[in-house]
């Protein structure tokens, strides 16, 4: 081929393309329909999938995803077996890789009603409020992600000395009217006084603890007849929950781990898989098929346009247009049709995602990449569809083309 000489100013090319498209606005609009449908379907499918996945994964936030609890079944009445869990459990579990905190917890033995009263100085009207009593190991604040808002939590020394101390959940403290620990207030459990040394607030899990009186296990055993712990609460590093859930029962009750019940968060993979189900695959295929149909539509209409504009092609060739000018012209027109289809489809698709989200009361997740990729995909569809008509147009011999008239 000889060196091309004539230049087609890009601005002229764009202007000519726009005129070409706008001269037949209805046809151009109808031609975009296939692409609009395809892109809309794809955007809705991908957008709703992303939105739904986000809804599900927000439930498995960092807090839930790092929470494991191990529960022992209540011992059968009269059983003399050794308890499955004991108060040393947290120590065993903390050695496992991925465990950040652990605590053993025992609730009041069955059949024991333990009335809790504030000290005699407090309003008698508050007395008798139903406040459960639990016994827990020193790791409890970490294990439930609470913070000691006043005073302190009991330590290993207090546990070892069987000190008569208590920590209140913040709601329990409010119920009992205890705010200031400066005067060393006491609570009376089953008539026995315990010094309140701290208040535990901001509890992230096992929130019932906020309304309890928490005692050291030794003290609770001595004074109130508490037995071995029923549960061990474990907090893990992010991503370690599944592994810890497998190992913790073995560490807690070697040889009898099968009897323990482990509650661990479902893995994120499973959550995602549930969303990208068969329906989505079907819609994706539907969207792609629509795109192909759209491309065929654009190709078809562009081909018709090429035939209709044969005279114009001849004229342009006579005016000095190179074959590639003619090809560019029709390529750009079909690309423009595809681009418009992509933009409209992306907009409709996003609206669809918002509508579906609203119907489900979800927060719509609008991915910027999706919004940008959709028009590009539409333009590519148009470009691909225009190749054959453009080549056909460029190959027209000017003499033949001129005979066709304008």
């Amino acid at each position: 081929m000889s060196r091309p000489g004539n230049r087609y100013d890009p601005r002229d090319l764009v202007a000519e393309t726009l005129i070409g498209l706008l001269t037949r606005p209805l046809r151009s609009a109808l031609t975009t329909l296939g692409t609009v449908l395809g892109i809309t379907t794809l955007v809705i499918t991908l957008g709703v999938a992303a939105t739904a996945a986000d809804q599900i994964t927000t439930r498995f936030d960092a807090m839930t995803a790092t929470t494991v609890s191990v529960t022992a079944p209540a011992p059968a009445a009269g059983s003399t077996d050794l308890p499955l869990l004991d108060w040393d459990g947290p120590e065993q579990v903390t050695r496992l890789a991925g465990v950040t905190a652990a605590a053993a917890l025992a609730e009041a033995p069955a059949g024991h009603d333990l009335p809790v009263r504030a000290s005699a100085l407090d309003d008698p009207a508050r007395a008798g409020a139903s406040i459960p009593v639990v016994a827990a190991t020193t790791g409890l604040p970490g294990a439930v992600r609470g913070t000691v808002t006043a005073g302190r939590f009991f330590d290993a020394g207090m546990v070892a000395r069987h000190d008569r101390v208590a920590v209140l959940g913040d709601q329990a403290a409010a119920l009992l009217g205890i705010r200031d620990l400066g005067e060393a207030p006491a609570v009376f459990v089953d008539g026995q006084p315990f010094t309140v040394i701290g208040i535990l607030g901001g509890i992230g899990r096992e929130q019932f603890l906020a309304a309890t009186v928490i005692l050291p296990p030794t003290t609770a055993h001595d004074r109130l007849g508490f037995g071995p712990p029923g549960r061990v609460l474990i907090t893990t590093a992010l991503g370690a929950a599944a592994q810890v859930a497998g190992q913790a029962p073995v560490a807690l009750a070697p040889g009898r781990s099968a009897a323990l019940t482990v509650v661990a968060p479902p893995s994120l993979e499973r959550a995602r898989k549930g969303v990208a189900g068969d329906t989505d695959a079907l819609f994706l295929i539907l969207g792609l098929v629509s795109l192909v149909v759209g491309a065929v539509g654009i190709a078809n209409v562009t081909l018709v346009t090429v035939v209709e504009r044969t005279g114009e092609i001849g004229l342009r060739r006579a005016l000095g247009a190179a074959r590639r000018h003619i090809a560019y012209q029709f390529l750009l027109e079909s690309t423009g049709v595809g681009l418009v289809g992509g933009v409209v489809g992306a907009s409709l698709g996003m609206l669809g995602v918002v509508a579906v989200s609203a119907a489900h009361r979800w927060t719509p997740v609008l991915d910027l990449r999706l919004a940008l990729a959709a028009p590009v995909a539409g333009a590519l569809v148009g470009l691909a569809a225009g190749v054959y008509p453009a080549v056909r147009a460029a190959r027209r011999e000017p003499v033949d083309a001129l005979r066709a008239g304008v």
């Binding site: 060196r3 087609y8 601005r11 006579a318 005016l319 000095g320 011999e397």
Partner: protein
């Protein structure tokens, strides 16, 4: 007459169409057209007029022979160079006007520059998008239609449409105006106006080659060549001006 440089020089030009037997649309054509000539090519339909026009307009290649346009031998040029030459040195006027129906007269005239064909005038001065509209108006003024610049073709009479087409052909000062039955779709009054325009253009030094079967048109030309069965013969009818 021979003092003027030649715009077209044909020597032994042949154009055959492959068939059995081959159709010889042009046989051994020799022709010289000099700058400022007004030449009419006459002949019955099927005589080879259209083939001659296509070859002269660089829209078709001769099978053999030589064709020099403005001193450039075109038969050895590639497709791209022929396209450039066509765009810059030749202005076409067609029987059916070939105006784009959705564009105003001026936009139709501007189209001549869009494909780069006329972007470098014969004076060597380059011109881009700027001033294109002004140049188109000037071309329309040359054919006496500047007052119709913003009319769509369907609002113009046949004669006006053809003058718009002439204005488009004049963009960029081509060496040659190739007219293919320019009056074929015009009534006699409009034909007369167009022929007057041709006379004016010739007086301005434009080289005109008009293919026609209309005697009224060919009579106005300074030179007349007849083509029959692909053979060209010059008729020595110098018109008294």
């Amino acid at each position: 007459m021979s003092g003027r440089e030649s715009v077209i020089e044909l020597h032994g030009l042949c154009r055959e169409y492959p068939a059995t037997p081959p159709v010889r649309a042009l046989r051994d054509v020799d022709l010289t057209v000099r700058r400022g000539d007004h030449l009419a090519v006459v002949g019955p339909s099927g005589s080879g007029k259209s083939t001659l026009l296509a070859v002269l307009g660089l829209l078709d290649r001769p099978t053999s022979g030589s064709y020099a346009l403005d001193g450039v031998e075109t038969t050895v040029l590639g497709d791209g160079q022929r396209t450039v030459l066509r765009g810059r040195r030749i202005g076409f006027v067609f029987q059916s006007f070939h105006l784009l129906s959705h564009r105003s007269a001026r936009e139709n005239v501007e189209l001549a520059e869009i494909h780069g064909g006329s972007s470098i005038g014969s004076d060597g001065g380059s011109s881009g998008r700027r001033g294109r509209s002004r140049r188109a108006l000037a071309a329309l003024d040359r054919v006496g239609l500047s007052h119709r610049a913003d009319f769509l073709p369907n609002r113009l009479s046949g004669g006006e449409r053809q003058r718009v087409a002439v204005a488009r052909a004049l963009m960029g000062d081509p060496a040659l105006l190739l007219c293919d039955e320019p009056t074929g779709n015009l009534d006699s009054a409009n034909t007369e106006t167009l022929l007057d325009l041709f006379d004016e253009l010739r007086a301005q030094g434009v080289t005109l080659l008009v293919i026609t079967h209309d005697d009224a048109v060919s009579r106005r030309a300074a030179r007349r060549v007849r083509i029959a069965d692909g053979v060209l013969t010059e008729e020595t009818v110098e018109v008294a001006l």
